[in-house]
């Protein structure tokens, strides 16, 4: 029973660690941002999992339905997704500017150039 009850969390942990690994192990800045997005998505899944109630339906009040899932995590994640894409756009814009300034989006090459000057 424990394995079934916690299965979602383990998927979340796996996704989170995969995103984390991409961020720390790869030098390419675009890939780092994709990794951050995966990390972010894992947190979304975790919150929505918290909100689920067994036998409940979507939190839109209707006749004849008594159990609803918790609406609070939905609200938080709803705003977080849109804010996430806005900040991702900002990050990508920074990557474009870095590419213009250094001619590369690989982190170690940027460090090398900084050391040279």
């Amino acid at each position: 029973m424990a394995a079934v009850g916690l299965y979602n969390y383990w998927i979340v942990v796996f996704l989170m660690m995969a995103g984390f690994y991409i961020v720390i192990a790869h030098d390419n800045l675009v890939k780092k941002i994709v990794g951050l997005n995966i990390f972010q998505a894992s947190v979304f899944v975790m919150y929505i999992t918290f909100g689920k109630v067994q036998g409940g339906t979507a939190p839109i009040i209707a006749d004849g339905v008594t159990t609803y899932s918790n609406p609070l995590p939905h609200v938080l994640i709803l705003t977080a997704i849109v804010v996430g894409v806005a900040t991702t756009a900002l990050g990508l814009a920074l990557v474009v500017r870095i590419n213009e300034a250094y001619g590369t989006i690989e982190e170690d090459e940027i460090h090398d150039q900084d050391d040279d000057t």
Binding site: A2, H26, V34, V53, I61, P71, L90, R97
Partner: protein, 172 residues
């Protein structure tokens, strides 16, 4: 979903990575529908699979679509990740089980939102009433963050020099 992430991990062609990211978002949206979060699934599908993919492709077009082979060893990050993951798995053992109606998260303010929300606001969609009314301050903050991010992107990539030059031409 995990398979897609593994693909993202391995593939060095950034175009394929971004496309896999889009598929990943779509699957996340499907999971949100299963978990009763229709509003969230809606947003994730249009944002993740639509807008962020287009933006990432735009960035790739402006830079390069090839990732170079990493120069340093990958063993240290792998160890760090496995250790952190093990600690997190250990943490999940104490969490409330999936779908448990008695979980602490469902006993705090959520019942009052579900009960009073429709009565006080006349709106059946509790997500909307909580978003705009109970948590109005939060949402105002979020909108401000989006506003700021938008302004930041415009400042970074907005070709201000170009516009200034054109104005000078018009004046002359």
């Amino acid at each position: 979903m995990s398979l897609t992430v593994f693909g993202i991990l391995r593939i060095r062609n950034l175009f394929a990575v971004v496309m896999l990211g889009s598929i990943f978002s779509l699957m996340a949206a499907a999971i949100f529908v299963i978990l009763d979060a229709v509003d969230v699934a809606f947003t994730e599908a249009s944002v993740g699979a639509g807008i962020s993919t287009v933006l990432a492709l735009g960035t790739i077009a402006l830079t390069t679509d090839r990732e170079k082979k990493p120069s340093h060893t990958k063993i240290l990050p792998l160890i760090v990740v496995i250790l952190t993951g093990a600690a997190l798995i250990y943490g999940t053992l104490d969490l409330a089980h999936y779908g448990d109606p008695n979980a602490p998260a469902h006993r705090h303010v959520a019942p009052s939102y579900l009960k009073e929300g429709p009565e006080k606001t006349g709106i059946p969609n509790v997500v909307t009433s909580v978003l705009a009314s109970y948590r109005g301050y939060d949402t105002l903050g979020e909108v401000t963050v989006i506003f700021t991010a938008g302004v930041g992107v415009i400042l970074l990539l907005g070709n201000w020099r170009h516009i200034g030059r054109r104005r000078e031409d018009e004046d002359a």
